[in-house]
């Protein structure tokens, strides 16, 4: 029964090199851990991974940390880990993008507080950010956010506020439904 298992969220950061995923997952496997979901990315040469795994009953945070410390001690670069027990009742296995997902792109000059400015707007309008990445395009700093608009009061009102927000902050913002991006970039048409 999966409910008897202990669920842990483990995050790993390190300088990127060959073999980190193998070493970490082998260590988890040796404790009987079964990986349910995993996200990994490399940011400016820095490896970062977050995973959810279920372990046999009575596995403790300490035992996982101990095993991963062994990986760290054998590694040429430091591997930092954070292990946390997950509450079963708050886990959501639905990793698909929600129905009311939009893509928000914000373009402007690189400056301190850029991301926070956009994030503040999202907070004020009850917009949940599902995915966030940044890139540089034509010399400008571009934030790409996938946001969930299921909890906003009114999209029309929010768009009006967004317009005001962009002119006040000298940022170009485009908010477009996620379906459009899927429709034009994927083979399957998103039909709801």
């Amino acid at each position: 029964m999966p409910t008897l298992q202990e669920q842990f969220i483990i995050s790993i950061t390190s300088h990127d090199r060959v073999g980190i995923i193998y070493e970490v997952t082998r260590a988890i496997g040796s404790l009987g851990g079964n990986i349910a979901d995993i996200r990994q990315s490399v940011l400016c040469g820095y490896f970062s991974m977050i995973l959810l795994a279920s372990f046999p009953p009575k596995t403790t945070r300490r035992s996982i940390e101990g095993k991963l410390a062994e990986v760290d001690s054998n590694s040429e670069s430091a591997i930092e880990t954070v292990v946390r027990k997950a509450e079963n009742n708050v886990l959501s296995y639905n990793s698909s993008v929600p129905e009311n997902a939009y893509v928000l792109t914000a373009t402007g000059h690189d400056r301190i507080g850029f991301v926070a400015t956009i994030a503040l707007f999202c907070v004020q309008h009850n917009i949940n950010i599902i995915d966030l990445s940044t890139t540089v395009s034509n010399g400008a700093y571009v934030m790409i956010l996938i946001v969930d608009l299921n909890h906003i009061a009114s999209i029309c009102e929010m768009r009006r506020d967004l317009q005001k927000f962009t002119s006040e902050n000298d940022i170009t913002v485009v908010l477009q439904h996620y379906d459009i991006f899927r429709a034009v970039n994927e083979i399957n048409l998103p039909i709801r």
Partner: protein
């Protein structure tokens, strides 16, 4: 998850490159609206259109707002009216046009197409009355558009009708003299007219279609032009062949069609109406950066109409169809590139500069998706010459198994080189000369029928 570069490319396409859904068209069958009297028939027609299209425009606008992609026109296409009104006289057909106009106004659509019939195999009594009613019908209404199919590859060209319609075009222009002959812009003559096209003035809801259907016309010449420019810019140091550019057009057409399919399906679902086709046509608007002519120039001719222009249109038209065909479950019969002169600033300028002439346009239409479209010609051109222009264009369609159409506007009181403006999406243009006008009279006087070509015998 979609990659950031793909997201940025898509954002550019929508925000900077004039991507829009040009038209969402609701097709409505009116076959069951025939009643004993013209008054009752008109009542039934109005009632049915209002019933089905009551929430059509607001639904399009809601979906458009949700996706933040403009839906430029909301239109209705109805069963060719000759089928509904057969047995009524011309004056009664004008009353039907008024009923259609009232219904279109009541549901706030931009245009309504279907004051139409098919006479390719012969002209019935009802067809004759409908044709006789066209000048009155189109000048006494605002939103009604008319079209007549005079030929098919299977049955040849009805030249008796072509003779009649040359005069109809003249009458329409003459009766709207104060608007530069604008009524003629609401009338189009076809060969192989598709029954499900969402494009005005030729939209109809053909026989054999569902009771009500949603069709979508997507445009996007601006998107394709920018994609080609980027590609040429990026790969300038490599040997970029036309096949590479065709591929770029195809891919971009896929993206553009997908947006239309998405929006059309959402509108259809919200209204609980079956979804018909997406017509991906590159139809320009008079806006800068939204031009098919510009694409032709990007593909390598400095003046549109220069040798090579026809080959370019052929490449463009085919690549657009290929991209669209894969993007949509069902692509409409008119997909391809349109070259409506008045509606395309770059084409209109080419006519002004005398680079693009009627004969070259005709050649280009043999490989584009429709035909001689929105061309202003001198008001002095006689009806027989207009019939002969129609006959030439119909012959191209008949022989090549394709749709061709003619929508010319003989601008009353103006001559070649003068200028006419129709306003809005209908655009403006210098009046194109018609060479050899008046020299086809004997041909037109023969009338009768041009027999179907040998390859109509396909069974």
């Amino acid at each position: 998850m979609i990659q950031p570069e793909e997201i940025l490319k898509t954002v550019d396409m929508i925000q900077k490159e004039n991507l829009d859904v040009r038209a969402v068209t609701m097709g409505i069958s009116l076959l069951d609206c025939r009643r004993a009297t013209i008054e009752l028939t008109c009542e039934a027609i109005e009632e049915k259109i209002k019933r089905h299209a009551a929430h059509f425009v607001e639904t399009c606008e809601a979906v458009s707002a949700e996706y933040s992609i403009p839906v430029v026109n909301k239109r209705i296409a109805v069963t060719p009216i000759a089928y509904v009104g057969a047995g009524f006289c011309a004056a009664d057909f004008v009353k039907i046009a008024t009923a259609l106009d009232n219904a279109a106004t009541a549901v706030s659509v931009d245009f309504l197409g279907g004051f139409s019939t098919d006479v390719s195999g012969g002209t019935l009594y009802g067809d004759r009355e409908l044709i006789a009613a066209i000048p009155d019908a189109l000048t006494s209404t605002k939103k009604v558009c008319a079209s007549i199919n005079v030929g098919t590859t299977r049955s040849g060209i009805n030249m008796d009708a072509v003779v009649l319609l040359g005069q109809t075009v003249k009458d329409l222009a003459e009766r709207s003299r104060d608007q530069g002959g604008f009524a003629a812009a609401k009338f189009v003559i076809f060969t192989n007219q598709p029954g499900d096209n969402p494009f005005m003035a030729g939209a109809i809801h053909g026989l054999g279609l569902p009771e009500v259907v949603i069709n979508v016309g997507v445009s996007g010449p601006g998107v394709i032009a920018r994609a080609l420019e980027r590609r040429i810019d990026q790969d300038s140091d490599r040997n970029l062949g036309l096949h590479d550019l065709a591929e770029e057009i195809k891919r971009t057409a896929f993206r553009v069609t997908r947006c239309g399919e998405l929006i059309g399906r959402r509108v259809a679902k919200a209204l609980d109406i079956p979804f018909g086709v997406v017509d991906l046509f590159l139809a320009p608007t008079p806006n800068v950066g939204d031009s098919v002519g510009e694409i032709i120039q990007i593909l390598g001719v400095d003046a549109i109409g220069a040798p090579g222009s026809t080959a370019i249109v052929a490449l463009l038209n085919d690549a657009v169809k290929k991209g669209g065909a894969f993007a949509s479950q069902s692509v409409g019969g008119l997909s391809g590139a349109f070259i409506p002169v008045c509606e395309d600033r770059v084409l209109a300028n080419a006519v002004r500069d005398e680079n693009l002439v009627l004969e070259k346009l005709e050649a280009m239409t043999s490989v584009c998706s429709v035909g001689l479209d929105m061309i202003a010609i001198p008001g002095s051109v006689d009806a027989a010459t207009i019939s002969a222009i129609i006959a030439d264009e119909m012959a191209i369609g008949m022989i090549n198994n394709k749709t061709t159409a003619v929508r010319v506007i003989p601008v009353p009181g103006k001559e070649a080189g003068e200028y006419v403006s129709f306003g809005g999406l209908f655009g403006e243009s210098t009046i194109a000369p018609v060479r050899n006008a008046g020299k086809s009279t004997r041909f037109i006087q023969f009338a009768g029928k041009i027999p179907a070509p040998i390859h109509s015998l396909r069974n």
